[in-house]
């Protein structure tokens, strides 16, 4: 669907994007992930044809964005960051204008506008002047604009930025439903967002691709070392026992009357096989008459994976040799 090859963009001496290559096949929802200034917007602008790359090529449905810009752009529905719109136009007027620009045939325009408004839930504001709309609505009009010509590829730059939690949920649901018919490429610096919407993530840092793959695989990049415990600790020794096995206590709640101890622990770097150590700990706890009520291993959040991948000076992760992490980057 879209293919980028050795994409680079330089502003004078500053290189915003360096040697970026990836491809997205039809029907995928792919997230561009990275902290602010990682080069996400520059990359999406190059994909949408707003910026020309300093080096490298972008192909959309086989059409080079620089050489056949009209064909490539027809296949793309692009929502720029912060969705800039003409404030003096009414919502339906604006969408009709955009539909005409995007070569939607005159007879189908009305229907296309209605469909886009329905999908992005702005139909109730159709006659409102855009300048009077709230940020959330404006964002959704931008989304409707991207949808109005029903293009196969959607490129959305921070589609949920500036929205309240309810609106964020709505936009996520919308993107989910769009994924059936469209290929979606979106950027975000909120990691849980990628976790919620995307099947695949491309992690950018300082203009370079530092990791790429299905979300699940990215999560596996870093095994969580945290364990939540709920113990009936009559002898009052569970904590020291766990600590002797290498589980450092992060937090604890003691209910004095019921002898229930709730603990959150993290394995120290000396522990190499976390699962084996957990097994050992449970056995020993049981042997020492501690009632094990709940043991929960935390799933690594993408945030943790992300910070591990994008730390400028990466501190070596104890459970992953440096060489192996290099492998993941490439």
């Amino acid at each position: 669907m879209i293919e980028a090859l050795n994409l680079s963009k330089e502003y004078g001496a500053f290189s915003a994007v360096r040697d970026l290559s990836f491809s997205v096949s039809a029907g995928q929802v792919v997230g561009f992930l990275g902290p602010n200034g990682a080069g996400k917007t520059t990359t999406l602008r190059m994909l949408a044809g707003f910026l020309g790359p300093s080096r490298g090529t972008v192909r959309v449905l086989g059409h080079d964005v620089s050489e056949e810009p009209m064909r490539a752009r027809r296949a793309i529905g692009y929502m720029p960051e912060a969705a800039p719109l003409y404030p003096e136009m009414r919502v339906a007027e604006y969408l009709a204008f955009r539909a005409a620009l995007k070569l939607v045939p005159r007879r189908e325009r009305k229907l296309a506008v209605q469909r886009a408004m329905d999908l992005s839930r702005v139909a109730d504001m159709r006659n409102t002047v855009i300048g009077h709309l709230s940020k959330g609505y404006r964002q959704r009009v931008g989304l409707a604009d991207a949808l109005v010509s029903n293009p196969p590829l959607l490129i959305l730059d921070e589609p949920t930025a500036g929205l309240d939690p309810n609106q964020i949920r709505e936009v996520r649901e919308l993107i989910h439903s769009l994924a059936r018919e469209h290929t979606v490429l979106l950027s975000t610096h909120i990691l849980s967002e990628v976790e919620a919407i995307c099947e695949r993530a491309l992690v950018l840092h300082q203009g370079q691709l530092v990791a790429e793959g299905p979300i699940g695989e990215l999560l596996r990049h870093r095994q969580s070392r945290r364990v939540y415990w709920e113990l009936r600790d009559a002898p009052g020794m569970a904590k020291s026992l766990l600590e002797s096995l290498g589980a450092k206590t992060l937090s604890q709640v003691e209910a004095s009357h019921s002898q229930i101890l709730t603990l959150e622990t993290e394995w120290t770097p000396d522990v190499s096989d976390v699962e084996l150590q957990l097994e050992k700990a449970v056995t020993q706890l049981v042997e020492h008459q501690v009632g094990v009520r709940r043991v929960e291993t935390a799933r690594a959040k993408l945030e943790e994976v992300f910070s591990a991948l994008t730390e400028a000076q990466p501190t070596p992760l104890p459970d992953r040799p440096a060489a192996q992490r290099e492998e993941l980057r490439s």
């Binding site: 707003f50 064909r71 912060a82 719109l85 003409y86 003096e88 204008f97 931008g142």
Partner: protein, 249 residues
């Protein structure tokens, strides 16, 4: 030229839906009405009339210093918005990622300002109609006068469109085009300063005063038309290149 009509219609609509065009129109018509009134007043007291110096010729010709001064402000004010505002608000991004060529965008925006310019002049068509009530009006003179005005406006607006593409600020675009147009105007005044020679020839070639002077007498000189149209084409061509170059900034 796909996309041209959509751009043209939106720009025209945007010019008239914001107060700018109406304020301009009101100011413009008040000024022109005043000028026309004083010219008519002058001629009503005159005892002798020469063949080629009636109120119409005065209005578009010798009196055209007033007319030029209003044009000097009106054209930049019409064109200042075109690209500066799109750049400032960021709407240039959805515009340039739509399947439209830069040439269609430039032409659509330019012709929308030009249409507005012509619409602003259209009420003044009443003046010759009023004059016909009391005397003879040569329709050829009226037609050539308006042709001269249209050409002058076309050139000014093209310059203004280019200036608007060069900056993000409408005010800067306004100042730049006023400055440039005033420069051309002053260069034209050189016609009355220099002795006949190459400098004099250059100055009289670009002179807006003698431009209108000739058209107001019904003299349609091809050189004038070529000069104005080449200004339009040059300015619009450079604007298209500027818009295309944003991709590579």
């Amino acid at each position: 030229m796909t996309g041209f009509w959509a751009i043209y219609r939106r720009e025209l609509w945007a010019l008239w839906v914001t107060p700018v065009a109406w304020i301009l129109l009101t100011t413009f018509l008040l000024l022109q009405g005043g000028v026309f009134y004083s010219i008519v007043l002058h001629f009503s007291g005159a005892t002798e009339l020469s063949f080629d110096n009636g109120p119409i010729e005065s209005y578009f010709g010798q009196g055209s210093i007033f007319l030029l001064m209003t044009l000097l402000l009106m054209c930049p004010a019409l064109s200042m918005r075109s690209f500066a505002e799109e750049q400032r608000s960021g709407t240039i991004e959805p515009l340039l990622t739509a399947p439209v060529r830069a040439s269609a965008i430039v032409l659509g925006k330019y012709l929308a300002t030009f249409t507005t310019y012509l619409l602003m002049w259209s009420p003044t068509l009443l003046y010759p109609v009023i004059l016909r009530g009391t005397g003879v009006v040569d329709p050829w003179v009226v037609a050539s006068s308006y042709l001269g005005l249209a050409l002058l406006g076309a050139a000014y607006l093209a310059i203004g469109t280019l200036m608007s593409a060069l900056t993000k600020s409408q005010l800067a675009a306004l100042m730049l085009s006023v400055l440039l147009q005033f420069g051309i105007f002053v260069l034209g005044v050189g016609e009355y300063i220099f002795e006949p020679g190459p400098l004099h020839a250059l100055c009289s070639h670009v002179s807006m005063l003698s431009h209108m002077e000739e058209f107001s007498k019904g003299i349609v000189d091809l050189r004038r038309i070529v000069f104005d149209l080449s200004l339009v084409i040059l300015a619009l061509f450079v604007t298209t290149e500027v818009v295309d170059s944003w991709r590579w900034s």
